[in-house]
Subunit: 252 residues, 2 copies
Amino acid sequence: MGLTVGEVASLASVSVRTLHHYDDIGLLSPSERSEGGYRHYGDDDLATLQQVLFFRELGFGLGDIARIMHDPSFDRLEALRMQRRMLKDKSAQLGHMIEAVEAALDATEGGVTLDAKDMFEAFGDFDPKKHEKEAEDRWGGTPAYAESMRRTKRYTKEDWTQIKAEGEAVNAAMAALMDEGVPSDDPRALDLAEEHRLQIDKWFYPCSQEIHVGLGQMYVMDPRFAQNYEKVRVGLAQYMREAIEANAERAK
Amino acid sequence: MGLTVGEVASLASVSVRTLHHYDDIGLLSPSERSEGGYRHYGDDDLATLQQVLFFRELGFGLGDIARIMHDPSFDRLEALRMQRRMLKDKSAQLGHMIEAVEAALDATEGGVTLDAKDMFEAFGDFDPKKHEKEAEDRWGGTPAYAESMRRTKRYTKEDWTQIKAEGEAVNAAMAALMDEGVPSDDPRALDLAEEHRLQIDKWFYPCSQEIHVGLGQMYVMDPRFAQNYEKVRVGLAQYMREAIEANAERAK
DNA sequence: GTAGACCCTGACGTAACGTCAGGGTCAAGG
DNA sequence: CCTTGACCCTGACGTTACGTCAGGGTCTAC
């Protein structure tokens, strides 16, 4: 089961090449491959594709879309709500543009020349400009965000899968310690915390111990991040935070 | 008088580079240059830019836009009416997309997976696909149209100015003969008609005598083309047609 | 009359695919 | 069981619509 590229392509009115491209850049890699190497898209993949297409319609670059959707704090519901708002805005903007066309029609028919400023009003406040900041506020906005943006821009499909694998490895190891009843200030937990820090440092932005501690606090306080750990093991976010703080203390 | 690139850019919310680009490809060359070489955009240029931006918003490629607007039969009023229709269609499509987002929201909140077909309906019938044909019917649609498309695709700014110059030269010469009272079957008129045919042959598509005669008829019957000649001299369209027919007869 | 803001023309870079080329895969039918 | 036509794969280069310098003139305001 699962649809082939061609089927998905005609379903979503995109080209096969587009799906290949999205796979190449790691934006949408089908969850399955046949033994012959054929891509097979499942329901989840289709849902992801739909998201991508909404963002694309709104003028987001593929790189931005990838960054938003790969973000550990990405939330589908919230994204959909934002997309709804932005699509409505765009609809309103289109309305203005229609008015502008009608004004131009009236003016041309009447032989009048209308004010230059009015002619281009509708082209002004475009979606990306207006909402990019919102997306940033919501999904980024930290001081190190710019650096992270810059680096992740070039990441390939393989990079993303490795990032995911490395992250999950640490999470699993940390959860295992929790299961064993190992306290969060145990050296083994601290080592894992350090590894976690180095991963961020390596993949996203220079992550000092201070920043790492800040991150740890956010893991507990911000439900978007917390969920990412809580879904592995209840209480893991808090455990991580403690391990991170102990590790920072040890490093002094 | 006339605005500089920077002024137009901020007015229309496009980059300076975009205006340079449009100039390079001959899509929008400002009607004036300062002695220092500065571009100066007048009211007509702004109106053209607005047209271009409407077409662009509708998903037309710059090459297509150039071809539409350089067409001798291009009519601003009609273009505006078409744009209005297309913008309204796009608005409706956006409405469907909003519905799709809301459906996705409901499904996600309710934990349901919805039908794959419904998910992508809104992405289907896109403007360019749907209306490209209309534009073709209206502005092209002749048998030789494809060839014309293919060739004009690569034309640069210089090409277009030369095409325009050559065309106007023939028109002016033809009008001069008319003014002198020279009959339309005079050899001089036939020579000009032949030159006219060769110009089309050279720049747009292989133009046989038969096709040329057909064109001549259209110049009289189709007001879009007729206007292009009538504005040079009243009666020129008819005069051209006669000269073209006589020339075709002579060539036999 | 000179500084700072703005403009010019190349020329190379980039994003998001389009478009082959060369070669496997797969389900239906003989 | 094997073939055949429709479909898929991975490179790799092409295209569109600009972005982004670099190196150098222009213009106006103090």
